[in-house]
């Protein structure tokens, strides 16, 4: 079975916009404000699509957890080359209360539903990736990470979680024919069940939760300083 990549995509306020707080201090001003795909998500999609074009990966699946408008971001992902899109729809306005832990659990469920092997916990991770080398043959990943001290290169087994940093690549423009094709593609809608209290609340019991296992690394190369 060929490798598959699940890419998280989020519709956020455009990075060029000056953020304004709402008059009633309840949230930031979002009405009539320009939104776009999080630039780091675009970099992640680009990395996944490049891996697919190099035939290292068989399928790229874009996922977004958000209100109905999140579909726009999924269409951008499709237009850039993702094969499928999954929209976990939450009611309009409730995105403020969607906490990172809840999103992680949603991703875990999707990974399990997509039968991406073991599920999210117990997977190694390579974060702040500025370079990724995927070896489909022996199912390993070499990730160069940008850390405070410079660059760190780690090697992990697959499956793994990777987060993209700014210098990983330059995302492609969505071409017009692909935009038109993405419009016609149906995407899968998944509605988050009425979230249980634990997914909604902040992870207030953080200290008591099981400590996350460290990345299962096969080899670590010495830190190189920039």
């Amino acid at each position: 079975m060929s490798l598959r990549v699940l890419v998280g995509v989020k519709r956020v306020i455009d990075y060029n916009v000056k953020i304004a707080v709402r008059g009633d201090k309840s949230w930031v001003e979002t009405a009539n404000v320009k939104h776009s795909v999080n630039p780091f998500d675009e970099i992640a999609i680009e990395a996944a699509v490049q891996a697919k074009e190099a035939k290292l990966v068989g399928e790229v699946i874009a996922v977004s957890c958000g209100p109905p408008k999140a579909q726009e971001s999924l269409r951008t992902a499709l237009a850039m080359g993702a094969d499928r899109a999954i929209h976990v729809e939450i009611p309009d306005g409730s995105e403020k209360t969607l906490e990172p832990l809840a999103v992680a659990k949603l991703f875990k469920k999707i990974a399990q539903d997509e039968k991406m092997l073991a599920g999210l916990l117990n997977w190694p991770q390579g974060t702040f990736a500025s370079k990724i080398d995927l070896n489909a043959g022996d199912k390993s990943l070499v990730v160069t990470r940008e850390i405070d001290g410079g660059l760190e290169t780690i090697k992990t087994a697959l499956p793994a979680v990777v987060t993209a940093d700014l210098r990983l690549n330059t995302p492609r423009f969505a071409t017009l024919p692909n935009i038109m094709k993405a419009k016609k593609e149906a995407h899968q809608e998944v509605h988050a069940r009425r979230p249980s209290a634990s997914t909604c609340r902040r992870a207030s019991r953080f200290s008591r939760s099981r400590s996350r296992p460290s990345a299962r690394v096969v080899a670590v190369s010495p830190t190189s300083t920039s």
Binding site: S36, A79, T175, L176, P177, I179
Partner: protein, 422 residues
């Protein structure tokens, strides 16, 4: 003027009528009663054009904007200064699907007319010369071949024109015939074997010095009708010298087409209105850039201890510019929708082309003025738009000629000709 008593009585009648409305509707109306709710004003989209677009039109606009700002804007300063055309932009635009975008099939995207207008606006926000090259390829070369050519001609030319592998040009204007194309002197003659031969000269032809495909208009000697013919680069007797020393559209390459008994392939090409539609949108894109630059400059430039934007006259100039741009774009949107519904009248195109170009030129000049001395430096870009919009106001039908088209539409009387004077 209604006397006060009857106004009050009328209001009472209206209230009674409102009360008679069924409760469901009344609940909907109830939210309309009460203090009005406002949203935050966005000077970059003053009349909320974005809200009138479909999702894919917005995506097309975003994609075009990203490409133009990232890839075209960095080149334009030097391209304009040294009168150099970057031919690679045709291939880049082709790769993105920006060429012939409204065509269905043949490697094209098949987007709406409004989407095409949005593309033109983004390209011209950078430079009118770049948008000229894009419009000529899309509306004046690809569209006629698509609409009027044979299937063989479509298969042969359209995919390569769409990708930018081939560059096309459109030859209508002559040295002695600009506003009156019907008086053209280029002729086409039928040969004994049924082929055609063209003789004459065209001028002010965007892309001609580098074009691979030429769509040329000639008066057919056998019946005096004007038809379009396809010529290809390298044909015997065909020459396309460059026009040097232009002080407008310098980033685009313009030339003549000299035909000395060139063998042409006839297409029964009819009349065209597509390019003007794109220009109407494009000119406003240029105006938007000028306003944004002037706003930025006046917010930062201080004289007498105060930013220029705090003074009344610059604010009035910017308000006038914003008003014309916003209203002009809404008119372009309406015409775009009518065009896609097949409900277009040609006079409507004249209205928006004339309005957008005339207003954009005036806005560019005012914005140049707001930058003071710095406004004449090409590094601030506005002077380049001022120069370009002189040509844009003139080509594809001058400001005055479009007025006559609309005037004929209003009065029914064509006012194009006067008594011939020898």
């Amino acid at each position: 003027m209604m006397p006060l008593a009857s106004t009050i009585a009328a209001a009472a009648t209206r209230r009674a009528a409102a009360a008679a409305v069924p409760s469901v509707a009344r609940r909907a109306m109830a939210t309309a009663i009460g203090p009005a709710k406002f949203v935050k004003f966005d000077w970059e989209d003053a009349l909320s054009l974005n809200g009138c677009l479909t999702e894919e039109e917005r995506s097309v606009m975003e994609s075009a904007r990203s490409y133009c700002q990232e890839k075209l804007m960095p080149r334009v300063l030097m391209a304009n200064r040294h009168e150099k055309f970057d031919r690679e932009i045709m291939s880049e635009m082709g790769e993105l699907g920006l060429l012939g975008a409204t065509i269905d099939g043949y490697g094209c995207a098949g987007v709406s007319s409004v989407a095409y207008g949005l593309i033109a606006r983004e390209v011209e926000r950078v430079d009118s010369g770049y948008r000229s090259a894009m419009s000529v390829q899309s509306s004046l070369v690809m569209y006629p071949i698509y609409a009027y050519g044979t299937e063989a001609q479509r298969e042969k030319y359209l995919p390569k024109l769409a990708s930018g592998e081939l560059v096309g040009c459109f030859g209508l204007t002559e040295p002695n015939h600009g506003s009156d194309p019907a008086g053209m002197e280029t002729v086409a003659e039928k040969q004994a074997d049924g082929s055609f031969v063209l003789r004459g000269a065209k001028t002010w032809i965007t892309n001609s010095p580098i074009a691979d495909v030429f769509v040329v208009w000639a008066k057919c000697k056998w019946d005096n009708q004007i038809r379009g013919f396809i010529l290809e680069k390298g044909m015997k007797g065909l020459d396309a010298p460059k026009i040097e020393g232009k002080f407008s559209l310098r980033a685009s390459v313009t030339g003549m087409i000299m035909m000395d008994d060139v063998a042409g392939l006839k297409g029964p090409f009819g009349c065209l209105n597509n390019a003007r539609f794109g220009i109407a949108w494009g000119a406003l894109g240029a105006a938007e850039f000028c306003l944004a630059t002037a706003r930025d400059y006046t917010l930062n430039r201080r004289q007498f201890g105060t930013p220029l934007a705090a003074f009344q006259i610059p604010q009035k100039k910017m308000a006038d510019a914003l008003t014309e741009i916003s209203i002009g774009l809404q008119a372009c949107l309406q015409v775009g929708r009518l065009k896609d519904e097949g409900k277009l009248a040609v006079e409507q195109i004249s209205i928006i082309k004339r309005n957008s170009c005339g207003k954009a030129l005036a806005i560019a000049r005012e914005c140049r003025d707001m930058l003071g001395g710095n406004g004449i430096a090409d590094e601030y870009h506005i002077i380049r738009h001022v120069m370009n919009l002189e040509a844009v106001n003139t080509y594809e039908g001058t400001h005055d000629v479009h007025a006559l088209i609309v005037g004929r539409g209003i009065t029914g009387i064509p006012a194009f000709e006067t008594k011939k004077i020898d």
